[in-house]
């Protein structure tokens, strides 16, 4: 669409700019401020330059939880994206069934995060939870509170349960936008189911999948409440992800300086990965 050049449009964006400046720029500047100072009390603060950054980058706590965070987000994307596509392909296309599927699938998305944690905390317990009880009664030695592998498995399963619906609903709406004529053409050409998926559905899903991957990467990378409620980050530190390490540092120990430096590094990683993903996709698009 050809847009009109008009700087008066700034008046229309002004409210958003002011609001976001208040709720994002001011706090972010505070963080920057903390990250370069050593603060004893309100009146005593020293400029320390990059010292906190140096300290935090060498901190094994940060390195470990960063590693865990990347592994977690990798598995989240690896499972949820294909599963979400599969669910979308299996959904009925019209009628009552379609509405019902949409509503049922959307339920996990609208449950408060700590309730999601609580649901799985109960569900996975071997004494009062159906899932934990079922696993133990078929002879699996399962206990998410003491075994790190079981804890990881439960946290991942919880995230899959919670967020695959988002990918599925995104893909479902992408699929609805494909005109019937495409399928009729494929049917005339006697295209196989796989060929229809590969050459008609998947290309049309690209734009929604980009949104899905970005949202899932960002949100899984910032995950806090659900694993905190489910495992408390344990056993040991095995399911302590970045946000939890940061919160421990900022609120628990009140190490404001290092925590602020950590915050900025954290934010930059999310920005950088999202930007890399986005530019790679756009370049691939241009190359076609």
């Amino acid at each position: 669409m050809n847009k009109v050049e008009n700087n008066k449009a700034w008046w229309l964006v002004l409210p958003v700019v002011l609001l976001v400046a208040f709720s994002a720029v001011v706090p972010l500047m505070t963080v920057v401020n903390y990250s370069v100072q050593d603060i004893f009390d309100v009146n005593t603060a020293y400029f320390v330059g990059a010292e906190w950054y140096r300290e935090i980058l060498q901190d094994p706590r940060l390195q470990d939880s960063l590693m865990r965070q990347f592994i977690f987000s990798f598995f989240v994307l690896l499972i949820e994206i294909p599963l979400g596509i599969a669910v979308a392909l299996m959904m009925p296309t019209k009628g009552r069934g379609a509405s019902l599927c949409l509503i049922l699938l959307a339920i996990p998305l609208l449950i408060p995060l700590n309730v999601v944690g609580t649901i799985w905390q109960v569900f996975g317990r071997t004494d009062i939870g159906l899932f934990g009880w079922a696993l133990t009664s078929i002879g699996v030695d399962y206990n998410y509170a003491s075994n790190p592998i079981d804890a990881w498995f439960t946290v991942l399963l919880m995230d899959v349960w919670h967020w695959t619906s988002l990918v599925a609903l995104l893909c479902y709406s992408g699929l609805r936008a494909i005109p019937d004529a495409y399928y009729q053409a494929a049917s005339i050409d006697r295209a196989s189911g796989w060929a229809i998926f590969r050459y008609i559905q998947l290309p049309k899903l690209q734009s929604v999948l980009v949104i899905g991957v970005l949202l899932r990467f960002m949100d899984s990378f910032m995950i806090y409440t659900e694993p905190f409620v489910l495992t408390g980050g344990g056993p040991g530190n095995s399911t302590t992800f970045l946000s939890q390490t940061l919160t421990q540092m900022a609120i628990g120990q009140f190490d404001v300086g290092p925590a602020a430096a950590f915050s900025l590094i954290y934010f930059l990683i999310v920005l950088l990965v999202s930007w890399l993903f986005f530019t790679t996709i756009s370049h691939l698009d241009k190359a076609k």
Binding site: M1, L12, M91, S99, I107, L110, G174, R176, V208
Partner: protein
């Protein structure tokens, strides 16, 4: 195009032989049913628990409450510290939805219709706010809202949640608005409509489903968020999700009440999804397909 071409009802039913047609259809039905079963199973368990007494919950595994009881729900509905939590959450979620729509609608219109200095940078900068981990903003938000006297108010939480909802809202609405041809704007101006009148009377109804979907997403991200909501409140505006931690008492966890409170947090979401169910297909693509 006439009636002789039977419209395909299910995707992927275009294989040539009739036999495999039925097979794929059944397979799909089984697949989707299995997935929905997986989605509903943990919720069933929560529901089941909420109608049991604590003795029954801890006594052994039962698939249906043997002594069906509403006691757990009664605890919540008779204690103001409990039910006010729901009221608080509802208040700040609604405030967030209203603020988000009020600021995002004009901005999205500007982005979809006009070129102006720094528009692309501004748009990208807005989206980067969606990428900020809430944990990063915990301490500065607490200080900022305390210093302006907003700590422990609904407005503080609503404003804090705008950090995520506004960028997403501008993005979604921009997609929907770009789908409306410019000619409509121009015709309205020629017909003598003022910008204000055109926007409210003609333009907004045209992107109705976009507004519904934006409200849905604002609701969703604000209703489920706890970290910021909990940090910015202490008594007056405390969200229900934070009050739930009260069930952990000296005598252990009150499982029944915890489950009942959990079930009650699912209901508002169900109502909202029911209202937008017909727009979901278009809406989840964020107006972009």
């Amino acid at each position: 195009m006439t009636a002789r071409m039977k419209k395909p009802s299910v995707l992927g039913t275009y294989s040539t032989s009739k036999k495999s047609k039925i097979d794929t259809k059944t397979k799909k039905k089984i697949g989707i049913s299995a997935y929905i079963f997986f989605v509903l199973l943990p919720i069933y368990w929560l529901l089941n628990m909420s109608f049991k007494s604590n003795e029954e919950i801890l006594g052994g595994l039962t698939f249906w409450p043997s002594n069906f009881t509403f006691d757990n729900y009664a605890v919540i509905f008779t204690d103001p510290t409990w039910y006010m939590g729901y009221v608080n959450s509802m208040i700040y979620v609604s405030m967030n939805m209203i603020i988000t729509l009020l600021v995002a609608l004009p901005a999205a219109y500007a982005f979809s219709r006009y070129k102006f200095t720094g528009d692309k940078h501004l748009f990208f900068w807005l989206l980067t706010n969606r990428m900020a981990p809430p944990a990063v903003f915990l301490l500065p938000f607490f200080q900022l809202y305390s210093s302006v006297g907003l700590f422990d108010t609904h407005l503080a939480v609503a404003l804090a949640h705008c950090l995520f909802s506004v960028p997403l809202a501008v993005w979604i609405l921009e997609g929907f608005m770009s789908g409306v041809p410019r000619e409509i704007d121009e015709t309205a101006y020629i017909d003598g409509y003022s910008f204000h009148k055109f926007f409210v009377k003609i333009f907004l109804p045209m992107i109705g489903s976009g507004i519904g979907v934006t409200a849905f997403f604002s609701f969703m991200f604000s209703w489920v968020e706890l970290l910021l909501a909990r940090t910015l409140t202490s008594v007056e505006a405390k969200p229900i999700a934070a009050i739930m931690t009260r069930t952990v008492g000296a005598s252990g966890i009150d499982w029944g009440v915890l489950a009942a409170a959990g079930v009650l947090t699912i209901i508002p979401g169900l109502l909202v999804i029911w209202f937008v169910r017909n727009h979901v297909a278009k809406g989840f693509a964020l107006g972009r397909v």
